[in-house]
């Protein structure tokens, strides 16, 4: 672990920053520090090549002269006046004055937990970061005593936070179903005593997702993540069972049945979630396949793995991935306009009611607001650090908890990370995944550039979708 002093390498500056790009026929301008998003015409787009704060009230003559061959003086003056209005209202060239909130980017109560209720799994997914379920630590299930201690730990460290989240994760959580139910019942008792509100989520591979579990899942789980990669051939190539057979034919009908029951119960929060690899760079087809199979909450994410694997995504794949994101974005727009839209997790963006700037400054919360607990009761910064002994934060059984490591992660925010402060996407990805940064860029504080490029492309598409839908209204 690196000493804290190195975390302050970047100072918050008062620079302005815009990101402008053209996509699907739209000229889009993001004013980074205000979050302002605008669609502009060609004259305004061109003017922005030459502008920064402070803006003069009227268009400088030298700009009129410079662009006289492209636009009329009247067009340029009008466009400039509207850009000035944006600037005056704080939606263009707004300053990075977030330094005043630096004291909010510090150690916080713990509010979320990834409970590894099972380090065992029936599947042998080739890209599994959990080493096919056991995280390299042997196959085991969490007992109820450890689950109780995890609930007690979360409540004890949650301070004034009322909403507490607990994700049942694995391995495969449904392999330890009785303990899942016991832990939920215990937490429901405790939340009343401590004025807390538990929100449970669960991630499953579907093998044991049978109707006898529906009532409990729909009553107690605020979100259920259903793992499947997409089309049958895509899923079965990467997600075989222990006997090497594909799982699509088993899990697809179960997911369809479960989602029907969940919606009928009045709870429509779920995700069908897949991973794409080099083998399905046409992953948009998998997203659309899910939609065609009746799902309207979909997440398909890029595999993150050692580049030496044949299925790993590499730099050379970036143009194809970008093209696929663009194709998917256009298809999503078309389906929304036809009234048959669906949610694609990575294209979701709320320009008005999204997270506050403080949350965006803090990042994912790993190791600070969020921890993972193993079946043995060991504490790690998040599920992706489990099994890395040097990142173990403590244990529920000996009462240890490394508060220095917690402070370290508290400061792993966008102003503590190399290059993030100067990136236009900083308030949307908030510094990326600390575990990915460590594993593939070698340092928690060093952004994994490959992930950054994909994140930025997804964000450009998400904003463009907003522009296109606004245009249609």
């Amino acid at each position: 672990m690196r000493p804290f002093v190195l975390l302050c390498r970047r100072k918050v500056t008062e620079k302005t920053m815009i990101h402008k790009y053209q996509l699907n026929g739209y000229n889009i301008v993001l004013d980074v520090h205000s979050g302002g998003v605008s669609v502009v015409d060609d004259a305004a787009y061109r003017l922005l090549d030459f502008l920064d704060a402070p803006m003069a009230e009227t268009c400088p003559q030298e700009l009129l002269d410079r662009l006289s061959g492209e636009f009329s003086a009247e067009e340029l003056r009008d466009a400039y006046a509207e850009l000035y209005e944006m600037y005056r209202d704080g939606y263009l060239f707004s300053k990075d004055d977030y330094a005043q909130f630096a004291d909010r980017m510090v150690s916080s109560p713990i509010k979320a937990m990834c409970l590894h209720i099972s380090h065992d799994c029936q599947l042998r997914c080739k890209y599994c970061f959990a080493s096919t379920g056991d995280f390299g630590e042997g196959r085991k299930l969490m007992d109820f005593e450890t689950g109780k201690r995890a609930i007690d730990f979360l409540i004890e460290h949650s301070g004034s936070r009322r909403n507490l989240e607990l994700d049942f994760f694995g391995g495969e959580p449904l392999m330890n179903w009785e303990v899942v139910k016991q832990v939920v019942a215990y937490a429901r008792e405790q939340e009343k005593l401590h004025n807390k509100n538990f929100r449970f989520t669960i991630t499953t591979n579907g093998i044991l997702l049978t109707p006898d579990k529906y009532d409990f899942l729909n009553r107690e789980m605020s979100n259920v993540v259903l793992s499947i990669d997409g089309r049958k051939e895509v899923n079965d190539r990467m997600r075989p069972n222990a006997g090497g057979r594909g799982t699509y034919d088993t899990i697809m009908p179960r997911y369809q049945d479960f989602v029907r029951a969940r919606k009928a119960s009045g709870n429509d929060q779920y995700y069908v979630r897949g991973t794409f690899t080099k083998y399905n760079l046409d992953f948009g087809e998998d997203v659309l396949h899910f939609n065609e199979m009746g799902f309207d909450q979909v997440s398909v994410e890029p595999v993150v793995t050692d580049p030496s694997h044949d299925y790993a995504l590499r730099e050379e794949d970036v143009p194809a991935i970008f093209a696929e994101y663009e194709r998917l974005a256009k298809e999503l727009i078309a389906r929304r306009k036809e009234g048959r839209g669906f949610n694609f997790f990575h294209f979701m963006i709320d320009l008005d009611q999204g997270p506050c700037a403080i949350k965006r400054l803090r990042g994912c919360g790993c190791g600070n607001e969020y921890v993972a607990i193993t079946p043995d009761g060991d504490i790690y910064p998040c599920h992706q650090f489990v099994g890395m002994e040097e990142w173990k934060m403590g244990s529920l059984y000996d009462g240890s908890f490394d508060t220095k490591m917690k402070d370290y992660f508290a400061r792993a925010n966008i102003y503590g990370k190399e290059d993030c402060a100067d990136c236009w996407a900083k308030f949307y990805c908030s510094g990326g995944c600390n575990a990915n940064n460590l594993q593939y860029a070698g340092d928690v504080l060093k952004p994994f550039k490959f992930s950054c490029e994909l994140e930025k492309k997804r964000l450009e598409c998400a904003i463009m979708i907003k522009a296109a839908l606004a245009d249609a209204e």
Binding site: G35, D78, N163, F345, D350, C429, C433
Partner: protein, 48 residues
């Protein structure tokens, strides 16, 4: 306006002053578990 259409009505800076209650969902819990995306989360407060 003829040349510019601003899509959002909320300035991120305004959310900073009143934000930071921490009651919202941890981003990694929502669906991803492998790739961090914070910008698509929801604010817990109906009126920031």
């Amino acid at each position: 306006m003829k040349h510019v259409k601003t899509l959002n009505k909320c300035n991120l800076k305004e959310t900073a002053a009143k934000g930071g209650c921490g009651e919202c969902q941890a981003s990694c819990q929502s669906a991803c578990k492998t790739s961090c995306t914070v910008g698509n989360q929801k604010c817990e407060k109906a009126d920031k």
